[in-house]
């Protein structure tokens, strides 16, 4: 039977009346219109649906909405007011996204990593950044995490990608 639930999402309390087994992902997307959190696999494999429950990353496709309880939910829409989180800024500065579909989840996981470990090693990044990206943006994700952490500058990283072509004289 359906239940009335109160969820705290991005600091706002929202009431919904839904099937208790409805995954949090679909409650966010279809009940509440928060479509920045993406559906990728439905079985907690890809991480496109990553949100925070009390600040910790969770895969919302595999959490029944009724199991959220009083945990505070943060979605990509609530990570910052205006895209100004250091992770978001680094992502844009380095043009990390290709198609962009998985990037909400990637940004959420990266921001959580930096909160836990403000100056992460490559090994920590490898361990934490476990979400799938079919476009294969991982190399720039790693660079952008370091930029967001202040371990590298945008200019240092950009120089490696923006290097002008070589070898042949221009017509």
């Amino acid at each position: 039977m359906e239940q009335s639930l109160k969820l705290t999402i991005n600091g706002v309390v929202r009431a919904i009346h839904v099937e208790p087994e409805m995954p949090l992902l679909w409650a966010l997307r279809e009940q509440l219109g928060l479509t920045g959190t993406k559906f990728g696999c439905g079985i907690a494999q890809c991480g496109a649906c990553t949100v925070y429950l009390d600040g910790r990353p969770a895969r919302s496709c595999s959490i029944p909405v009724s199991a959220v309880g009083k945990a505070k939910i943060t979605t990509i829409e609530g990570l910052s007011k205006d895209g100004s989180h250091p992770v978001q800024k680094a992502w844009v500065a380095l043009d990390v996204p290709q198609c962009g579909y998985c990037q909400s989840g990637q940004v959420m996981v990266a921001a959580a990593l930096l909160k836990r470990s403000p100056r992460p090693s490559d090994a920590e990044i490898d361990e934490a950044m476990n979400n799938l990206c079919r476009c294969g943006t991982y190399q720039r994700i790693r660079d952008a995490v370091h930029v967001a952490a202040g371990q590298k500058t945008v200019q240092q990283v950009q120089a490696t990608y923006a290097e002008r072509p070589v070898g042949v004289s221009r017509a």
């Binding site: 219109g33 990728g40 895209g83 992770v87 844009v92 962009g100 990037q103 072509p165 221009r170």
Partner: protein, 734 residues
């Protein structure tokens, strides 16, 4: 534009209602979802006041550049805008883009040309006319200023959208002069002189992408995110066995479930459940009792398909051939003969955004919102499925959450959504495939098998080379008219004699290449790199076997065959230099090399790997070289190479869509794993454009990823790996 006016009339009132609801809802909830709720119920009209097809200059100096190709992550929106802006001489900081719909394109006689976005063609087949469009607009803007000031055109200069007449010190801007410019007769396109790459200031440089910002904060509305008023959602199930049919289903069993509106039998093998929300439709579909006739293919397996391919390797018949000299005789007469059989499995595309589209049928018109690589194929599918003339259909292109070839010519989801929408006129139907449906009903990268033979003389030189590929044909499945007399050249992409697209870079004393078509019931289609993926592996790994059998260095052996292919040789040399070929490596680390051509571009790669006793493969370094003729945005070209490396490594180590009892076994990422960040090596790239042709970027390099790594594993282990994916043969990428 008549069509658009009437669409606007049809949807005008509704549009107003949505906007109001969206604003009110957003305010009431304190959440920013109004933008999505306001998604247009008609294709957005194009900006007015165009200077020409490609360029609109607004009074506030905004420069709107029109992009006809689809953006799926490859960066074509930014690259094409750079080319137009370069000739236009506008202020790059004021550039934004808009996309004509296929209906708008048709209404103007296909003025924007081909909208299809596949085969790495976005830039290489439209660079000329989009640059002429930018140049023509610049010439008109400057002529308008010259007319206004009554001065000779040659006395004017333009910098970043500001036109100056230095002798008199007068200045004007594109925004101020645009109205007058639009009234002028456009210049003759043939007489336009385009800039030389050496003069480029916007093109050729790593301009930031125009579409990154809303991909990091949840604002970007993908097709799957659409929320339209009165919308219903559909979940789909196709018969798991390709070619099977539905016998019966019991709609009553799910009729009482919350939100469920009904079941639609889309065709004899496809059912959809419609509900107010997708999760409800999907769970109701899972609960729907149904019975299937698996049909004639229920016993087909990967093994049985492999047997048919293997038979093709030795079959007699009249097959498509490239024949130079008598390779079989030359090989037979050689001091040493080599032979090997290679194979590759079917592969699913697995775009991160599952297949989906939205269709609304109302008042004799149909509209689709769809992430499509080919908007014209989408509108054609919409027209065909509804029976409405093209003029009563239109398609709003949505940026794709991944394409890789899956969302091109075959618009299966449009046909499905139309079948549902016909039962719910006036209500938009958003049809979404589950991940399982997406991986289980793809147009797969075809499986193939190759037998390669070669002869070596006593000096270690090749005497003859022979390759026969056996497998399903993409053309047979998708474009049968392209096949003449049962002969299909496309499957031998990369082995072709013709220069310019996918030419083999070697010259052999004698050569025989053959393709033997062996189709199965499994749907096949283009998958990033298409046939260059498998063929690149077959050719480059077997060449490596030959080099080793001859006791010769991999690089030197290849060079000796490439005298007539300077561009292939150029990238091979570039990668060898960048990767320090020939220099000592740490103990336990080995190199592999490959070069190949596809999509009019030349690629080469060097990988350095170590292999542990447990089969753990570590890629210590991987270096690519690419000659794509012209580089429009170096940072984005590198991004495509990095992404292609990841997708190529996923295929080589992990990827397989296995056929079992007529259906695909791997239906989600748990059984169809793709690379993760921790497995991804750092990619180094050297770009060596030769500036006398235009090649593709999105696909060319994927074909050298596999063979470079496989050849390094061969070097490390002394044993060639001829079958994929490697995880089935004891290797894991770490």
């Amino acid at each position: 534009m008549k069509q658009m006016d009437s669409l606007a009339r049809t949807f005008g009132r509704r549009q107003f209602l949505i906007s109001s609801a969206g604003v009110a809802g957003g305010l009431a909830l304190g959440l920013s979802w109004s933008e999505n709720t306001q998604a247009q119920l008609t294709v957005p009209p194009l900006s007015v006041d165009e200077v020409n097809l490609w360029v609109v200059i607004q009074r506030d100096e905004t420069c709107v550049i029109r992009i006809a190709r689809s953006e799926m992550g490859q960066g074509t929106r930014t690259g094409l805008a750079q080319l137009v802006a370069e000739e236009l001489e506008c202020d790059w900081a004021r550039v934004r883009t808009e996309e004509p719909s296929p209906g708008q394109n048709l209404a103007r006689g296909r003025a924007w040309g081909d909208m299809s976005t596949g085969g790495s063609r976005g830039i290489r087949t439209s660079h000329d006319y989009v640059r002429r469009g930018g140049a023509a607009a610049r010439m008109m803007l400057m002529q308008a200023a010259a007319n206004q000031w009554n001065v000779p055109l040659v006395e004017l200069r333009v910098v970043a959208g500001v036109i100056q007449h230095e002798p008199s010190g007068r200045k004007t801007s594109y925004g101020q002069i645009a109205d007058a410019a639009a009234k002028l007769t456009p210049p003759d396109w043939k007489t336009i002189v385009l800039k030389k790459p050496a003069e480029w200031r916007i093109a050729g440089h790593s301009m930031p992408r125009l579409d990154s910002a809303d991909k990091v904060d949840g604002r970007k509305v993908f097709s799957i995110d659409l929320r339209l008023p009165n919308m219903l959602c559909a979940a789909v199930m196709q018969c798991p066995v390709f070619g099977g049919k539905i016998i019966r289903f019991d709609e009553r069993a799910i009729a009482a479930r919350r939100g469920v509106k009904g079941v639609v039998k889309i065709n004899e093998s496809t059912l959809a459940v419609v509900a107010d929300q997708w999760w409800r439709a999907k769970t109701a579909l899972a609960a729907l009792p149904m019975e299937w006739d698996w049909g004639p293919n229920a016993q087909v397996s990967s093994q049985s398909i492999a047997e048919s391919l293997r038979e093709g390797l030795s079959a007699e018949g009249d097959f498509w051939q490239r024949k130079e000299g008598d390779a079989p005789a030359a090989i037979a007469a050689s001091a040493k003969q080599l032979e090997a059989i290679y194979s590759s499995p079917f592969l699913a595309h697995a775009t991160m955004e599952p297949m989906n589209c939205t269709v609304l049928i109302e008042g004799g018109r149909a509209q689709a919102w769809v992430p499509t690589q080919n908007a014209e194929a989408s509108i054609a599918a919409l027209s065909e499925a509804t029976g409405f003339p093209l003029g009563q259909c239109d398609v709003q292109k949505m940026d794709l959450g991944g394409g890789f070839g899956r969302r091109g010519g075959t618009q299966d989801y449009i046909h499905q959504a139309v079948a549902v929408a016909q039962k719910f006129p006036g209500q938009p139907i958003k049809l979404i495939w589950s991940r399982e449906e997406d991986m289980g009903h793809d147009f797969y990268r075809p499986t193939s098998m190759a037998k390669l033979s070669a002869g070596l003389d006593s000096n270690g030189n090749l005497t003859g080379f022979q390759v026969r590929v056996s497998g399903p044909s993409i053309n047979a499945y998708l474009t049968p008219a392209a096949i003449k007399n049962n002969k299909d050249t496309r499957q031998l992409q990369g082995f072709w004699a013709e220069a310019g697209d996918a030419q083999l870079g070697y010259t052999f004393p004698a050569l025989l290449t053959e393709y033997v078509m062996r189709n199965s019931h499994v749907p096949v289609g283009p998958w990033r790199g298409v046939n260059t993926n498998q063929n690149g592996i077959y050719m480059e790994c077997f060449i490596e076997e030959c080099a080793r059998a001859a006791g010769r260095d991999s690089l030197e052996f290849r060079r000796s065959l490439m005298g007539k292919h300077p561009k292939h040789l150029g990238v091979l040399n570039a990668v060898a230099q960048k990767a320090d070929w020939g220099k000592p490596l740490p103990a336990g680390v080995y190199r592999g090399l490959a070069q190949f051509m596809g999509y009019a571009s030349y690629s080469a790669a060097v990988a350095e790997v170590s292999v542990s006793s447990k089969g753990e493969v570590k890629i210590h370094r991987i270096v690519f070289a690419l000659d794509c003729g012209h580089v429009v945005n170096p940072a984005q070209v590198r991004a495509q190479i990095e992404g292609g490396a990841v997708m190529g490594l996923s295929a080589v180590f992990n990827g397989e869509s296995t056929v079992d009892q007529g259906r695909i076994k791997e239906l989600n990422f748990d059984t169809y794993p793709i690379l993760k960040l921790k497995e991804t090596p750092r990619v180094e790239t050297v770009l060596v454009p030769s500036f006398d042709f235009w090649g593709g970027v999105g696909e060319p390099t994927i074909c050298v990823v596999g063979p470079a790594v496989l050849n390094a594993i061969f070097a490390a282990t002394g044993k060639p790996q001829r079958n994929l994916p490697l995880r089935k043969f004891g290797f894991t990428l770490v």
